[in-house]
């Protein structure tokens, strides 16, 4: 069970994240999960100095576009690029957009972390 978890929607993502920035919280990480027909994205923050993490979670359709939080937290660029290329989560207006080529290459499997993609370099087999 994830403690201090708040369910949000993509429409409230930026306003919720802004509250953390205003409170001088530190962005920790995003975790993406494949739920079958939807994707689940969880954003973790930490109040510094402190020990508690707080999480925001939203569930979106695989074709839906979500806003980037990199305008608020620049450091989220790597995490957001990773969610796009590993899961296909469409993140709009990332401050530095690697276009799906941050960790993967041109010949790599597409969205390899999705459940219907087998590991081993030949996605989907």
């Amino acid at each position: 069970m994830i403690e201090n978890l708040k369910e949000i929607t993509k429409d409230t993502l930026l306003s919720e994240v802004q509250k953390f920035a205003d409170a001088k919280a530190r962005f920790v990480v995003t975790v993406c999960n494949d739920l079958g027909d939807k994707l689940e994205a969880t954003y973790y923050f930490n109040y510094s100095p402190g020990v508690e993490m707080v999480a925001l979670r939203m569930v979106v359709g695989k074709d839906e576009e979500v806003p980037s939080i990199s305008g608020i937290y620049l450091c989220a660029v790597l995490a957001e690029n990773e969610m796009f290329e590993q899961y296909g989560l469409k993140v709009k207006d990332i401050a530095i957009d690697f276009g799906g080529l941050m960790l993967l290459g041109n010949g790599s499997p597409v969205t390899p972390m999705l459940k219907d993609k087998a590991a081993g370099g030949k996605g989907g087999e």
């Binding site: 069970m1 530190r26 990480v29 975790v31 973790y44 510094s48 620049l74 993967l104």
Partner: protein
């Protein structure tokens, strides 16, 4: 306006033990912009973790990175143990701390040597690495290997440290501490070292927080944040207090790691003095239940985040690792612009980048 030039820094560079590229735009020897380029060592370890049965992942997780392997393995076990949740025997907790701090000692000594090498201080580089060998010998004596130790298992640890080994370790650690302290005193007061690090790559406290930095990098900017304060292991019984510097520059980052090297040895000695006798392993009952947990541990290079989701089978539904460097790289986008091109290598090195960790 002078012409601007874009130069690649890496993926192969003397200060980079692993491949990453920084596309650096500079004007009159001053850096004006930086864009990182990753992807030279991605191995898909998170995906592979879903395919293995959960106990086998320990060996996989330890191969995220050679230097951080021990704490990766321990933290994976601690994450999975939280899924049940289950308790491990007290002696196992102490042994995990000893192994973790031994890893931190050799990792920081390695980094101090690399810093000296980047500064051209070759004799000091060799001295740091010489005493690091003694720590690696201790790890080899207790775990059987120098790099991937595989000491931790879900439910405890695989190897105990007997009385004879304990005596040898304590004796060697005292020697290493004495030698390391002497070297650190020279390093910290050397005018050339100061000239190359003081005021270089400055990150203020506010910037460090907003840029998501962590570990020694964050603490060097005056933030008292360390996952060893979370109370999940036995650090609170050892009187642990995070080491903090306020300079926010490359020198402050070096001082934090130098002082943490000595602190790590002190923590090991303290752990040996308080470690209870008893069992070192408690067999997990059943399979990881359908549950999800997040966990943070203090790696040698900083805060490491783990997420595990069980589904009631022997396999994990999802395992996520966010390593320290993954979060520290964005700070370079702020630290490097405005600095001299010649200072770039030392500033990059000052975050103790680990690219195999970052790319997993």
């Amino acid at each position: 306006m002078a012409p601007r030039t874009v130069a690649p820094f890496g993926p192969q560079h003397p200060v980079l033990p692993e491949p990453i590229q920084l596309k650096i735009t500079y004007e009159n020897e001053k850096v004006v912009d930086v864009v990182p380029a990753l992807g030279y060592g991605h191995r898909g370890i998170e995906k592979a973790c879903e395919l293995n049965e959960y106990p086998k992942n320990i060996h996989l997780i330890e191969r995220i990175c050679g230097i951080c392997s021990c704490i990766h393995g321990i933290s994976y076990c601690e994450t999975v143990e939280r899924l049940w949740p289950m308790e491990v025997p007290p002696r196992a907790k102490y042994l995990r701390v000893i192994y973790s701090e031994m890893s931190r000692t050799h990792s920081h000594l390695l980094w101090l040597g690399l810093l000296c090498d980047a500064l051209g201080f070759e004799s000091m580089f060799m001295q740091f690495w010489r005493i690091r060998e003694k720590v690696l010998d201790l790890l080899e004596m207790t775990s059987g290997t120098r790099v991937t130790h595989s000491v931790s298992v879900v439910g405890g640890v695989r190897r105990d440290i007997d009385d004879e080994q304990e005596k040898i370790i304590i004796r060697e650690l005292r020697e290493v501490r004495q030698e390391a302290e002497a070297l650190i005193n020279v390093l910290a007061s050397d005018p050339t070292v100061k000239a190359r690090t003081v005021g270089k790559g400055v990150l203020t406290k506010e910037q460090a927080i907003l840029l998501g930095t962590n570990g020694p990098h964050l603490r060097a900017s005056g933030v008292k944040e360390d996952c060893r304060m979370l109370g999940m292991q036995v650090y609170d019984e050892l009187g642990f207090e995070p080491i903090v510097e306020t300079g926010g520059d490359s020198y402050a980052r070096a001082l934090v790691r130098a002082r943490e090297t000595l602190q790590a040895i002190d923590l090991q000695l303290e752990a040996f003095s308080k470690m209870p006798k008893g069992e070192i392993f408690e067999r997990p009952k059943g399979r990881p239940p359908a549950n999800e947990v997040s966990y943070r541990s203090e790696q040698c290079r900083g805060e490491c985040f783990y997420y595990a989701k069980g589904n009631g089978t022997q396999n994990l539904e999802r395992f996520r690792v966010r390593t320290p460097t993954f979060s520290n790289i964005p700070s370079l986008l702020v630290m490097l612009p405005g600095s001299e091109l010649a200072d770039v290598p030392v500033i990059v090195l000052s975050i103790d980048p680990c690219i195999s960790c970052t790319e997993r």
